[in-house]
């Protein structure tokens, strides 16, 4: 096992009752890679991301993070330092001011006292301002989060990740409910930040265009199996066509 491999999947399978969601999936991710998971809906993308996020365990096989089994990474705070998650825009607490949603990325490092004090007197304001500036929202700091548009909310979620500084970012359809220009904005920002912070990204996407444009490697799933796993520039249109093709007529 090479030191560079930050994620390693070994014969991962997941069954729901009788249905197979993923069957013996194996691949290795190097540090700093940006990976797009593509494939038709129901292919197992979300299942895979959920397992990486430890939301549930694989039925068989094992996941290694930095060479250690994910199942042993049970400490919540340590896990937050390793793995950060961004999903569709429902991840923020709408009633809180933007700055608090950003600073929530620091909760793993803060004790209860500091996190309570922060709600009245924002702590580490400079870092929060910096994070918000990087995502282009320095002036929305004290707005109520629910008043922001969908794209802006997703940027706040990115700013939270900047505070959290995980080594791996899992993104589950991060731009699913955004219009195209906003979506490209967010993806560009996400991959740029990841490059600057030397983070590894695994994102599930429904759009192949975005996947090819912003990510270095594409992993395609179909019916719970690995369909192809290639650098973004080596994926052919024919392969993509086959990936999204409905069941062939007999």
């Amino acid at each position: 096992m090479s030191k560079k491999n930050i994620i390693e999947l070994n014969q991962i399978s997941k069954n729901y009752e009788r249905k197979i969601a993923l069957s013996s999936l194996s691949f290795v991710v190097e540090k700093g890679e940006t990976i797009a998971l593509i494939g038709p809906s129901g292919a197992g993308k979300t299942t895979l991301l959920n397992m990486l996020a430890s939301n549930f365990e694989p039925s068989s096989g094992e996941i290694f993070i930095d060479g250690r089994p994910l199942s042993q990474l049970t400490d919540r705070k340590k896990r937050a330092k390793k793995i950060g998650i961004i999903r569709q825009q429902f991840d923020l607490v709408g009633q809180l001011a933007v700055i608090h949603n950003v600073l929530a990325g620091r909760l793993a490092d803060w004790g209860l006292g500091k996190s309570l004090l922060n709600l009245f007197i924002p702590q580490e304001r400079q870092a929060a301002t910096q994070a918000l500036t990087r995502v282009g929202l320095p002036d929305k700091m004290y707005e109520r989060t629910s008043n922001l548009s969908g794209g802006e909310q997703q940027r706040v979620a990115l700013a939270r990740l900047l505070m959290q500084k995980p080594e791996i970012i899992l993104a589950d359809e991060p731009v699913a409910s955004l219009d195209p220009s906003r979506a490209e904005d967010i993806l560009e920002m996400l991959t740029k930040i990841a490059k600057e912070e030397q983070q590894t990204v695994i994102a599930s996407l429904h759009s192949v265009e975005y996947a090819r444009k912003y990510f270095s490697r594409l992993i395609a799933l179909k019916n719970g199996e690995l369909f192809f796993d290639l650098p973004a520039d080596q994926v052919t249109n024919k392969q993509l066509q086959e990936l999204y093709q409905l069941k062939e007529l007999k």
Binding site: A53, G84, F90, G94, L119
Partner: protein, 264 residues
């Protein structure tokens, strides 16, 4: 087929059943003996007419203001205590602080049961029990208000917390937040406005409840109404009733103003 028609008619069945219940309840009254006092009709019209001629002399108005303040003060003190009780028990009864499934079931069950008991007994009965055991003291009224109102606030707060959408909470957990941090950054900010609205609504009810604490011998508007009724002084009764109405309307107006502002 029969199942389908039952489904279609179940509302009608329920309505008929409820109507029959109402008729049965009417049979509980001994109508044949007469239900109105010999002088009842006269008294009724006297009371009704007094509605238009409330007593407005200076000393009655001063008394009305003083008793209004007593009523308001007991209600506010009781409600502030109820809010603390409701918050603490409500959060515990929601089970969001539990780490394991078994302890969550236990927390939820025991605290919801406790809240149910607190609110099952009417505040005046609590007041009576307190006065009977500890003697006459404003604390009897305050505690008597705080317990049932704490019970109802706690129950509703727990329901609100349980209805908070799961995604933001999961995201906080993924960012490394502990149970308590999730409470202060996720659950409480999400339900804060609904909690304020509901507490305001209950505050209005608490004013009414505070007014009737007089029945265990504690002062306030209810006490004055009782005294005036005993003297058959209906004009004064209406003065105090109008004062009570005004306080309730003011609190109601304030709370609806708050609700509108919060909705924006």
């Amino acid at each position: 087929m029969s199942m389908f028609s039952f489904d279609l008619h179940k509302r009608k069945i329920l309505t008929v059943f409820l109507l029959l219940l109402f008729v049965w309840s009417l049979l509980g009254v001994k109508w044949q003996d007469g239900v109105i006092h010999a002088s009842g009709v006269g008294t009724a019209s006297e009371i009704f007419m007094a509605m238009f001629t409330p007593e407005l002399s200076a000393n009655i108005l001063a008394l009305a203001f003083e008793s209004s303040w007593i009523t308001l003060a007991y209600a506010t003190a009781g409600m502030s205590l109820a809010l603390v009780l409701g918050l603490v028990f409500g959060i515990l009864a929601s089970g969001v602080l539990a780490t394991r499934k078994s302890s969550r079931t236990f927390l939820k069950g025991s605290f919801r049961g406790l809240l149910g008991f607190m609110r099952a007994i009417h505040e005046l009965v609590w007041a009576w029990l307190f006065v009977a055991s500890f003697g006459l003291s404003p604390y009897a009224a305050i505690f008597a208000l705080a317990i049932p109102y704490g019970g109802i606030l706690g129950r509703i707060f727990a329901d609100m917390i349980n209805d908070v959408p799961n995604e933001p909470i999961q995201a906080l957990q993924a960012a490394g937040a502990s149970k308590l941090q999730c409470l202060f950054y996720g659950y409480l900010p999400s339900v804060k406005n609904s909690m304020i609205s509901y507490t305001m609504y209950r505050y209005e009810c608490a004013i009414r409840s505070s007014a009737i604490m007089s029945f265990v011998g504690l002062g306030g508007l209810g006490y004055q109404i009782q005294l005036s009724l005993d003297d058959l002084n209906y004009d004064e009764v209406w003065t105090f009733m109008y004062f009570l109405t005004i306080i309730v309307v003011l609190i109601d107006g304030w709370s609806s103003l708050l609700r509108k502002r919060m909705a924006k």
